[in-house]
Amino acid sequence: MSVSIVHTLRVLKPAAMIGLAAFIGLIVGFYANAAFFPGTSPEQPIDFSHRIHAGDNEIPCLYCHVQARRSISAGVPSVNKCMGCHNEVATDRPQIELLANYWRTGEPIPWIKVHDLPDFVHFTHKRHVAADIECQTCHGPVETMDVVSREAPVKMGLCLNCHKEHEVEFGTDCWTCHK
C-alpha cells in the first residue's frame, strides 16, 4: 500500500500551522518586548546624567571609568570617587543627597547595567582604549544623554566591520572573541 504525499502533507498541515504561528509569535514578541519593555535605558537608582558630567563639564570618560585603560572591564566609579567632588559640588540637589545617603550608609549603589555583552563574548576595554577607539563608537554619544540608552547596536556585525576596517590581526577569527 502506497502512501500519497498529498495525504501526508494534509495530515501534517495543522501541526505546521501551529508551528508557523508560534514562530511568528516569537518574532513579533521579541520586537514588541524590545519596544514596550526597554531594557536598553532602564531607570537607575540615582538619576545620574552623563550630559552634565561628560558633556557640559567635559570630564573625560577615563576620569571616572579609570579601569578601562588597564582592565577588561571599564568599571563604575566607587562611591568615594563620586563623593570626592560631591562633598563640595552641588550638595543641595536631591539626587546628590541620594548619593550622600548611599555614602553614609555604606550601601552599594545598585546601578543597572546598560551595555551588556553575552557571556560567550570576550571583550576587553584595555585593548580598545589602547587602540584609540572612541568610547562613543560602541556606547553612542553618551555625553549628550541624560539617561544612557543602548544606541549603537553592539552586535557581532559592529565588531566585525570595525575589525575589518582597521585590518585587525586575526580580527575575524572566531576565537578572537568567542573563547
Binding site: 514596550f36 531594557g39 579601569q67 582592565s71 566607587s78 562611591v79 546601578w111 547595567k113
Partner: protein, 739 residues
C-alpha cells in the same frame, strides 16, 4: 509570558563604597600568603578579583610546596566563604551547651573576658590558653600575653602532633627539632607506618620528594617499601607493601639493624650495637612481626646497598605503647648506614628563623595526651578559672575516656576564639570569632623545616567578610583592656609582626635596602629563605645504644573479648576532623575505597566471609570505652585481625556539612599512652565487632573494586594459582580473580 522570557535580563553593577587596596574591577591580583589548613606551613598564592578570593594555588617560590598544594589547601576558600562561619561576637544565653547565644559587641565581649581575667589570681596559674599549634610571631605574642597574665599554662594542642617522633629524635640524636628527611635524593625509602604522601608532617613536600626520587634522575629509579598493617595511600604507591603485626614495626627495624651490624658495620661503636641487638635475631624478629625471615634479610641487604637509603617512621607505627622506641629504632637504621647529614638522608634543621630571642620559649608547648588529661583533672578540681580556646577542638579530638567535655563544666569561664561553631565552642560562654587565615596577618616558620632557614609571611588577601577579628588582634585587644601597655604596646597584629620582621631585617648583613622595601619584597614573594644550614654530626651516646630495644606493644582489651585491633587513620580530606565542614572535602572520594561522605570500617574480605558479614552491613564497634556504629567495607589490603577507620567524621556541631555524618573513632579509643612521650597510643585499642542487622551502604563514586574479567591488572605470584583459589600474598589471604 513569551515576552517575559526573551526580555533583557537586569544585571547590576555594584561599586564599592570604598574600594579595597589595589582593587581594579576585571583585573586579577595574586597575593602570596601561608596556608592555614594544616601544620605543614605551605606557601600559597591566592587569585583575587574584585576584592574576592577566587582560587588558591601553591606559591612556586616556597621551598616547602614549590607551587603545589593539596586538596585541603585548595578547599581553604570554603573555609573563608563557609555559610556556617561565626559572624559576630556572642555571649551564651541559655544553659551551657544549649547552643543559645546572643550577639554582642566587641567592646562588651572583650570587657567581659578582661574583667574575669583581672579577677583571676595572678599567681595561681588559673588561666589556661589552649591554642591550636601555632608558630612564628603569633606564638611569641601568646607567650608575652600569658607572661603578663602571670600564668605558665599556655598549651598548644594538635591531635596529630608527632610527640613520639620528637621524643625519639631527642633520645637518639639529642635533637629538639624534627630533622629534614631528604626523600628527594634517597634511592631506597623504607617507611615504617608513615603515610608521608597523605598527611604525615609535610605531605606536599614529601610528594615532591617522592616524585623526584622516582623520576628526577634518569639513571636510577628510587625504590620504596612501605610497612604497615593497612595499605595507606603511600602504601599503594610503594614498590613493595609489607604488613607487620601492629606495633612490631620497631622490632622489625631492629631485626634489619641487627643484619646490618652483622653484615659488616664498621663504625667505631660496632661492638655496642652488636651487643644491644643480639636479641633481635632473624628468627625471633620473624616470629614476632610475622614478616618472613628471608624478607627481613633482603630488606637489610637492599637498604645497606642503596645509595643512599632512608628510613622514616611515624603514623600508626609511632602511635603504640612502644612508639618512641619504635621511632628510635627506625632512626637508628639511618645512623647505621651512615646517612646522617647527607643528601638523601636525615638532615638536621637550623633553629627556626625568629626574632624575639629575648623571649625564652620552652622548646615545645605542645600538649601531649598526658598534659590534656592533667588539664581535665585540674579543671575538675576547680583549678581552672578561665579557659581560652584558640581554634582547637579537644572535645572532638580527645577520647571520651579523657572526660574533657565533662571537665569543662567545672570551668567558670570558657572563651572560644574559633571561626566556626564546633564541639568545643558550643560549650563556650563568650565567643570572640576570629578571621580565617585568608583575612589575617601572621607568619610561619615551617616545621619540620627543609634543611635551611625559612620564614614566610601570611597577609590578608581579602577584606574581612564579617564582624570578626584576627586572633592576634583579639589577644592585643584583651591586653589593652588589661592595661599591659608597657609589655604589649602594639596596636595591631600587623604592627607586632612588622616589628618582629624589623629584627630579622636588621640581622641580615649587609642590610642592602631600607626596611620598607625589604618588607614589600617579603610580602610580594611570600617567603624569605636564609642560607643558614647546620652541620649534622652523628654521634650516638653509648648509653643510648645500650638502651635500644623495642618492647611488645600493649593493647587495651583482651584478645578473646576484643578480637580486632582498631587502626584509626587520618583520612586524606579531613585531617584531624577540621576538613569535615568543607563540602569539597566531604565529596572528595577516599582514594583507597572511593567513598564520599560518612565514615566506614575496613575489614579483610576473608575475615568478613568468616564472620558472615558483607559490604554495607551496619556494624557495632565496641571497645572497653564505648561503642559506635559504622558500615562495613571490605578492603583486601588489610591484615585479617585489624580493622581500620578514618578519622574526621562524626561531628555533632561543626556546621551543616559536618553535622550528623558518620562516627568518630577517637571517641572509643582507650586512654593508653606511650609512657615515654605521653602521647595517646591511638593504634592500641582492641575492639569487637557485632553486626546490627541493619544496612547502611556508604556512598561510593567508583563501581566495584574487582576486575570482573576485564583483565586490567595482570597478576601472578609465580605459582599460577587457579582462578577463585585462595592464596596468601604477604601473609594476607586473598582470593585470586579470574583473569
Amino acid at each position: 509570558m513569551l515576552a517575559e522570557t526573551i526580555k533583557h535580563p537586569v544585571e547590576h553593577l555594584f561599586p564599592y563604597s570604598v574600594p579595597p587596596e589595589e582593587y581594579s574591577p576585571g583585573m586579577v591580583t595574586w597575593y602570596n600568603s601561608v596556608c592555614g589548613m594544616c601544620p605543614a606551613g605551605c606557601g600559597i598564592s591566592v587569585r583575587t578579583r574584585e576584592g574576592r578570593a577566587k582560587k588558591i594555588e601553591g606559591n612556586p617560590l616556597h621551598p616547602v610546596n614549590q607551587g603545589r598544594l593539596c586538596a585541603l589547601g585548595q578547599a581553604g576558600l570554603q573555609s573563608l566563604y563557609n555559610p556556617d562561619r561565626l559572624t559576630a561576637p556572642m555571649q551564651r544565653q541559655g544553659e551551657r551547651g544549649s547552643d543559645e547565644f546572643v550577639q554582642t559587641t566587641w567592646e562588651e565581649g572583650l570587657s567581659a573576658v578582661a574583667q574575669r581575667l583581672e579577677m583571676a589570681d595572678r599567681h595561681s596559674d588559673s588561666v589556661v590558653l589552649l591554642s591550636q599549634g601555632v608558630r612564628g610571631h603569633f606564638a611569641n605574642l601568646l607567650e608575652l600575653f600569658m607572661r603578663e597574665l602571670g600564668s605558665s599554662r599556655l598549651l598548644h594542642y594538635d591531635f596529630a602532633h608527632p610527640h613520639s617522633l620528637h621524643a625519639a629524635n631527642k633520645k637518639l640524636f639529642g635533637e629538639d627539632q624534627l630533622p629534614y628527611y631528604d626523600i628527594a635524593n634517597s634511592r631506597y625509602l623504607l617507611s615504617f607506618g608513615a603515610d608521608y604522601l597523605n598527611n604525615w608532617l609535610s605531605p606536599v613536600h614529601h610528594s615532591l620528594g617522592f616524585g623526584h626520587s622516582r623520576q628526577g634522575d634518569d639513571s636510577a629509579r628510587g625504590r620504596f617499601v612501605q610497612i604497615e598493617p593497612k595499605m595507606s595511600i603511600s602504601g599503594a604507591a610503594a614498590d613493595e607493601w609489607i604488613p607487620a603485626r601492629p606495633g612490631t614495626e620497631g622490632i622489625l627495624a631492629l631485626g634489619i639493624a641487627n643484619r646490618i651490624v652483622e653484615g659488616g658495620y664498621t663504625g667505631g661503636d660496632a661492638e655496642d650495637w652488636s651487643a644491644a641487638l643480639t636479641a633481635y635475631s632473624l628468627t625471633r624478629v620473624a616470629e614476632q612481626t610475622g614478616v618472613p625471615a628471608e624478607t627481613i634479610a633482603r630488606l637489610a641487604e637492599e637498604f645497606t646497598h642503596a645509595e643512599p637509603g632512608l628510613a622514616i617512621g611515624g603514623g600508626a607505627a609511632g602511635n603504640h605503647t612502644n612508639g618512641v622506641d619504635t621511632l628510635v629504632a627506625v632512626n637508628a637504621l639511618n645512623y647505621l648506614v651512615g646517612n646522617i647529614g647527607k643528601p638523601g638522608g636525615v638532615v638536621f634543621n637550623p633553629a627556626p628563623m625568629s626574632s624575639r630571642s629575648a623571649i625564652d620559649r620552652p622548646s615545645s608547648r605542645h600538649a601531649n595526651h598526658q598534659a590534656m588529661q592533667d588539664l581535665a583533672e585540674n579543671a575538675r578540681q576547680g583549678g581552672v578559672m578561665v579557659l581560652i580556646v584558640n581554634n582547637a577542638n579537644p572535645v572532638f579530638t580527645l577520647p571520651q575516656s579523657t572526660g574533657f567535655k565533662e571537665a569543662l563544666d567545672s570551668i567558670p569561664l570558657i572563651v572560644s576564639l574559633s571561626s566556626f561553631m564546633d564541639e568545643t565552642t558550643a560549650l563556650a560562654d563568650v565567643v570572640l570569632p576570629s578571621h580565617t587565615y585568608l583575612e589575617s596577618w601572621g607568619d610561619d616558620m615551617p616545621q619540620p623545616g627543609v634543611g635551611f632557614s625559612v620564614g614566610s609571611v601570611s597577609q590578608p588577601v581579602v577584606s574581612p567578610l564579617y564582624n570578626t577579628r584576627a586572633t592576634g588582634d583579639i589577644i592585643l585587644g584583651l591586653a589593652a583592656k588589661l592595661g599591659f601597655r608597657e609589655a604589649i604596646p602594639w596596636a595591631s597584629m600587623e604592627d607586632f609582626l612588622k616589628d618582629g620582621w624589623r629584627e630579622i631585617y636588621a640581622r641580615r648583613s649587609p642590610a642592602s635596602d631600607d626596611f620598607d622595601s625589604f618588607w614589600r619584597d617579603v610580602l610580594r614573594s611570600g617567603v624569605l629563605g636564609e642560607n643558614v644550614r647546620r652541620e649534622s654530626t652523628a654521634a650516638v651516646d653509648k648509653r643510648v645504644i645500650d638502651g635500644i630495644g623495642v618492647a611488645e606493644p600493649e593493647f587495651s582489651g583482651t584478645n578473646d573479648d576484643y578480637p580486632f585491633i582498631l587502626h584509626p587513620y587520618m583520612a586524606t580530606s579531613m585531617y584531624d576532623g577540621r576538613g569535615a565542614n568543607l563540602p569539597w572535602m566531604q565529596e572528595l572520594p577516599d582514594p583507597m575505597t572511593s567513598i564520599v561522605y560518612g565514615s566506614w570500617i575496613e575489614m579483610n574480605p576473608v575475615t568478613a566471609t568468616e564472620m558472615g558479614v558483607t559490604d554495607g552491613d551496619l556494624i557495632r564497634v565496641t571497645s572497653e570505652q564505648g561503642s559506635i556504629e559504622v558500615p562495613l567495607v571490605t578492603f583486601p589490603a588489610i591484615m585479617p585481625d585489624v580493622v581500620a577507620m578514618p578519622i574526621g567524621q562524626g561531628h555533632d556541631d561543626f556546621g551543616r556539612y559536618a553535622r550528623g555524618r558518620g562516627s568518630n573513632p577517637i571517641q572509643i579509643l582507650a586512654p593508653t599512652m606511650d609512657p615515654e612521650s605521653g602521647s595517646l597510643a591511638t593504634s592500641a585499642t582492641r575492639v569487637s565487632l557485632v553486626t546490627t542487622g541493619k544496612r547502611a551502604e556508604p556512598a561510593k563514586t567508583g563501581g566495584v573494586a574487582r576486575q570482573l574479567g576485564r583483565n586490567i591488572v595482570q597478576f601472578t605470584d609465580g605459582s599460577s594459582e587457579a582462578a577463585g583459589h585462595s592464596t596468601k600474598v604477604n601473609g594476607i589471604p586473598i582470593v585470586v580473580e579470574p583473569a
